[in-house]
């Protein structure tokens, strides 16, 4: 019996919190534009994570206080940020040397779809009425050491986004390591999707129903229960 409860699943901040816990101390991390930016808010206090912004910043800090914004100090989403002690500025070209040269430990990206072999679709839909735009997604997809995807488990109309094969144009091939959704933490393995954590209030079978590729439940799986956020 599937009793559909209200508010099953994590809030976006809770997903961001969960991702933040997964990032090792000392990592160099690039956060995609949009929801992934929230990850920076939940880094545990006893870890030092160096955030990279593709426009040419390493050691990016939080948003400035109101009135302290500097138009020359913005992140990849073009929002005002600050620089931490130890931070540095460099050219866009050097910034993509870091990305494409394999120097970024983790990149957290949004996605339209992820396939069970790790294929990533996050730059274009099938809607050709708008111009396409890729930004740094393809560079990050092939360059970062690990790709984490942060996305809703299903589309707004309830369609699965974890697929056997992506139907949207691909950004990169076999690059996704772990998918963090509002319902689960799912690793991409050689054997396909493995649910490592599932949110309270939803069964593995229900999760499988919302996933368009076979799911395996990890032997030591856990319930995903973040703090209230």
């Amino acid at each position: 019996m599937t009793a559909v409860l209200e508010k099953i699943g994590l809030t976006r901040p809770q997903v961001a919190w969960r991702i933040a816990q997964e990032i090792d101390d000392g990592s160099y991390v690039n956060l995609g534009i949009g929801s992934p930016e929230m990850v920076a808010n939940y880094v545990p206090a006893d870890r030092e994570i160096v955030f990279h912004s593709e426009n040419g910043i390493l050691g990016m800090g939080e948003a400035p206080a109101a009135g302290q914004e500097d138009g020359n100090l913005i992140n990849a989403g073009k929002k005002p940020v600050t620089l931490l002690p130890g931070g540095s500025y460099f050219s866009h070209t050097d910034s993509f040397v870091m990305i494409r040269g394999g120097h970024i430990d983790i990149c957290v990206l949004g996605a339209y779809q992820v396939a069970e072999n790790g294929d990533l679709a996050n730059w274009a839909t099938l809607d050709t009425s708008k111009p396409p735009g890729v930004g740094g997604a393809m560079d990050l997809a092939v360059g970062a050491k690990q790709i984490f995807v942060m996305m809703d488990h299903c589309t707004k109309t309830g369609k699965p986004k974890l697929m056997q094969n992506c139907t949207y144009p691909l950004t990169g091939f076999g690059v996704v390591r772990t998918v963090f959704t509002d319902l689960a933490v799912i690793d991409v393995t050689e054997g396909g999707f493995v649910a490592r954590e599932i949110t309270a209030g939803i069964s593995f079978e229900e999760l499988q129903e919302k996933t368009a590729a076979p799911l395996t439940l990890a032997e030591n799986w856990q319930t995903l229960t973040p703090p209230e956020l």
Partner: protein, 245 residues
């Protein structure tokens, strides 16, 4: 033996055949935007710095509207926002093509309208490839292999090669006729200093264009800029001028 070898004299150093003296001592300062932009031709490929508004040569792009140059190709990370800078140039009908990575920022309405009307062509290039193609132009690299876009829609028309088991595409240099750059300080040799993340595309565009024009907040005396901190040496710069917003 018939050759006359009896002409014995010390050359005056300005004798014809030796170096000409028409060029003044190095002074790349120009007085105003009109002098800076006056000789930009229709059909030019223009590299336009900036990531969003940071480092964007807004005044230069708007001044281009009145120069008579048309049918321009603009290379930039974005396609303009609001109705200023690049968006104003597009709205004025001066731009026939944009080469960029991300033309769909919120607010890039002018571009999107013209694109959908078929008036402005678009080449979407992955952001790192955009930068690297300009660097190749500036660095004399004939082409380079990158895994970025290999196997995707954006790589499908490109030459492919597997290197060490990884699929790559071959990318060619992207050279500008003109680079328009916004920076912070300059000196008369054309040395340039940037501010924070506004540095972004300035250094690579300066080296990738035939004619590089830089708008700064301030021009200082030669020797005032820290030689360790000069990010774009004057060898890459042709004209500098001061224009505060």
């Amino acid at each position: 033996m018939s050759v006359n070898i009896t002409i014995f004299k010390i050359y005056p150093i300005d004798q014809p055949g030796l170096a000409s003296y028409s060029t003044p001592m190095i002074d790349k300062r120009v007085d105003n935007i009109a002098a800076a932009l006056g000789d930009i031709q229709s059909g030019a490929v223009i590299l336009s710095s900036g990531f969003g508004d940071a480092g964007a040569p807004v005044d230069l792009l708007e001044a281009l509207i009145n120069t008579g140059a048309e049918n321009l190709t603009i290379v930039s990370n974005n396609a303009g926002e609001g109705n200023y800078g690049l968006a104003a140039l597009i709205a004025a009908g001066k731009v026939s093509q944009i080469i960029c990575s991300y033309p769909i920022s919120a607010g890039s309405v002018v571009f999107q309208d013209r694109y959908q009307a078929g008036e402005v062509a678009l080449e979407v290039v992955p952001q790192g490839t955009l930068s690297e193609r300009m660097r190749a132009a500036g660095a004399g690299i004939g082409g380079f292999f990158t895994p970025t876009s290999a196997g995707t829609e954006l790589g499908k028309s490109k030459e492919n090669r597997e290197i060490n088991g990884v699929e790559h595409v071959l990318e060619y240099p992207l050279k500008g006729d003109v680079a328009l750059i916004r920076a912070t300080q300059a000196d008369r040799w054309g040395n340039i200093v940037y501010d924070k993340s506004a540095r972004n595309f300035g250094p690579v565009m300066a080296m990738a264009a035939t004619l590089t024009i830089v708008q700064v907040d301030e021009i200082v005396e030669l020797g005032e800029l820290d030689p360790e901190l000069i990010i774009t040496p004057g060898i890459f710069v042709d004209r500098v001028f001061v224009h505060n917003d």
